[in-house]
């Protein structure tokens, strides 16, 4: 049997802390379907008579049973729901590998200009020259920051960008008569999306072990390279928060073997404006605009994952792409000799392009470099302040934008990484990323980003130290019971997964009453 994730403790804790009941500031909000009914509406629309002649007999006969709310009811329902969320705006959100930085509101304002938000993807290109110029300008920034030859803007998210980048590699190799290359090398510390993407495209995934210092074993890469290897997928800085010191050597070895270097750019925030991935020898890299360039995470998306491409891969970019024509910018929407095709219906995440470019222009080249340096400074500051109370698995290099600890400092306390993280909730912080990367036992991955002030970092470190001391002092209950101050105590994930309830159903007694 394989265990492809470390067994995390589950279950809901056993403490007898007082129940958190609903109050004005921490509401217990009923479901929309328990508040509204099918008659109420918050949108005034005229009732029009229609004939059914042009509906082909396909008019709706079944009921929708959709609850509606008037505007004041809706406003209150969603405002009350919102209060149950932690957010960047309300507190530090040090989720490693997620880059939860400040989201400037100018970005939002610009994205809502009608000239960007109220234009259709299939309008004549003569009527959207400003939009195409914006895409061109964003492309220029992305290519300049990475020193690459081309960029495909359209992917909808990081994983989608990865897919596109690997499709481009496959297309390039097919075109060069190299279709026999069926292996992709993926370091053990990689994001789960990397092996998933490679496998999706039919590649066999060969894991590359990490060295004791948390970096990729160059020798192991060289030994694994062969004429059957299509590419390596490497995250740099890696998921342990370390810059791969021999990345150039790896790139050279990969290229010498006729393979491509796909770089996972999820951690680009550590190096933007400071190191250009193109100088390291990458062939393709996706950039998460929702991480590095502050387009909001929005509770899980939408993201945007443009992919920069080297000279060798540029001809294999997907459609649509921009081209300068006689009458301004043109949008090339169909294959003209390229082999990849189309990965989404339209031009990608325009709303995110506007936000990202706004962010870039606000920072300038100098501000982006300063942001990366501050992100690295903050992570090293946390690492320095906590290294005596916590256990640092890799200490040979300075960390980049995130600080990684393992759970050996909790040995013998009966407190797990999960418990520790949940206790952090009671102190007003969002937990760090837990149990990732997998190469470290009970990992705690902390990414403060550049947005946190020294004052906030100090308060965070004080709380972390206090929690560590309390765990070592034997106050296990504080941790296993946590959180007790959140809108909910620990939730029963086993119950949710064993008998999934994925939608609201009208309670049976209400149905009977209606009969």
């Amino acid at each position: 049997m394989s265990m492809n994730n470390q067994g995390r403790p589950t279950g809901t804790g056993t403490s007898s802390y007082a129940a958190s009941s609903g109050s004005a500031l921490l509401p217990n909000e009923p479901l929309l379907f328990e508040i509204g009914d099918t008659e109420h509406s918050g949108v005034d629309l005229p009732e029009v008579e229609i004939s059914l002649d042009r509906l082909g007999g396909f008019e709706r006969k079944t009921s929708l049973d959709l609850a509606g709310l008037t505007e004041p009811e809706a406003m209150r329902h969603y405002v009350r729901l919102s209060r149950l969320n932690h957010s960047i705006d309300s507190g530090m959100y040090p989720l490693g590998s997620c880059t939860m930085k400040h989201n400037p509101r100018l970005n939002e304002k610009m994205a809502r200009l009608p000239g960007f938000s109220d234009i259709h993807p299939l309008q004549p290109v003569s009527t959207v020259q400003g939009a195409l110029e914006l895409m061109e300008e964003l492309s220029h920034w992305l290519m300049t920051l990475t020193n690459t030859a081309a960029v495909a803007l359209t992917p909808k998210a990081g994983a989608h960008g990865e897919l596109l980048g690997m499709m481009a590699i496959k297309a390039a190799q097919d075109a060069a008569g190299q279709s026999h290359r069926k292996i992709v090398l993926v370091p053990e510390s990689a994001h789960g999306t990397n092996p998933a993407t490679a496998a999706f495209l039919g590649y066999a995934v060969r894991p590359i072990p990490a060295r004791a210092d948390g970096t990729v074993d160059v020798q192991a890469v060289k030994e694994a390279l062969s004429p059957e290897v299509a590419a390596i997928m490497l995250t740099n800085p890696n998921t342990c928060g370390l810059f791969e010191p021999q990345v150039i050597e790896i790139a050279e070895a990969v290229h010498a073997a006729g393979a491509f270097f796909y770089c996972d750019g999820a951690n680009f925030n550590a190096i933007m404006g400071v190191v250009r991935p193109g100088d390291l020898g990458i062939d393709a890299m996706h950039i998460n605009l929702h991480k590095t360039f502050s387009t909001p995470h929005g509770g899980g998306g939408p993201g945007a994952g443009p992919v920069v491409l080297s000279e060798a891969l540029a001809p294999f970019a997907p459609v649509p792409f921009l081209r300068k024509g006689e009458n301004g910018l043109e949008l090339v929407e169909h294959n003209e000799g390229t082999a990849l095709g189309r990965v989404t219906a339209f031009q990608g995440q325009m709303g995110m392009y506007v936000r990202a470019l706004t962010y870039m222009l606000s920072h300038g080249g100098d501000g982006l470099a300063q942001a990366a340096q501050d992100a690295v400074l903050n992570a090293n500051y946390i690492k320095a302040r906590l290294s005596h109370a916590f256990s640092v698995p890799f200490n040979d290099y300075p960390t980049m934008h995130e600080a990684l600890f393992d759970d050996s400092f909790l040995d013998g306390t009966g407190v797990t990484t999960l418990d520790f993280a949940k206790a952090l909730i009671d102190e007003g912080f969002h937990p760090m990323t837990m149990y990732f990367p997998l190469v470290v036992h009970g990992a705690m991955l902390i990414e403060p980003t550049e947005s946190e002030s020294k004052q906030t970092l100090d308060r965070f470190c004080d709380v972390m130290e206090e929690l560590a001391a309390d765990a070592k002092a034997g106050n296990k209950d504080r941790f296993t019971a946590a959180p007790v101050k959140a809108p909910r105590r620990r939730l029963d994930e086993t119950r949710a997964a064993r008998s999934p309830v994925l939608r609201w159903e009208r309670p049976v007694d209400t149905l009977k009453a209606a009969e």
Partner: protein, 121 residues
């Protein structure tokens, strides 16, 4: 009747030519609450090391490999409704599938209970 183990934490309980496969108490403890089991089809022919089933906990999904080559003769359909049996009773009620062993010689290559106990110390 003998019970043998794999380094991947499957057990194989051999009775005549039939082996019963499940995961060890150590493995169920490490995985946490099992929420779903994907069973093999009866009649499926497996080679030693093939993926035979998948067990999912809340946080992990793990493949169950065939400890020996053979043909699936029976699966524990009770697990579809009560996957938690793997947690509460991994070695009896939580068995996963039975296999007609093709090559009894392969059994000798598996770990005995002492060797497996050493592995999970």
């Amino acid at each position: 009747m003998t019970t043998k183990f794999t380094p991947d934490h499957e057990y194989l309980r051999v009775e005549g030519s039939i082996g019963t496969v499940g995961i060890t108490p150590y493995a169920q403890e490490a995985l946490g609450d099992i929420v779903f089991v994907e069973l093999p089809e009866v009649g499926k022919v497996l080679k030693k090391g093939d993926e035979a089933a998948v067990v999912e906990s809340v946080k992990a999904a793990s493949e169950i490999y065939a400890p020996v080559s053979g043909t699936v003769t029976e699966v524990n359909t009770t697990l579809s409704g009560e996957p938690g049996l793997i947690n509460s009773d991994p070695e009896a009620g939580g068995w996963i599938y039975k296999i007609e062993i093709a090559d009894a010689g392969e059994i000798d290559g598996l770990l005995d209970s002492d060797a497996y106990a050493q592995l999970t110390l």
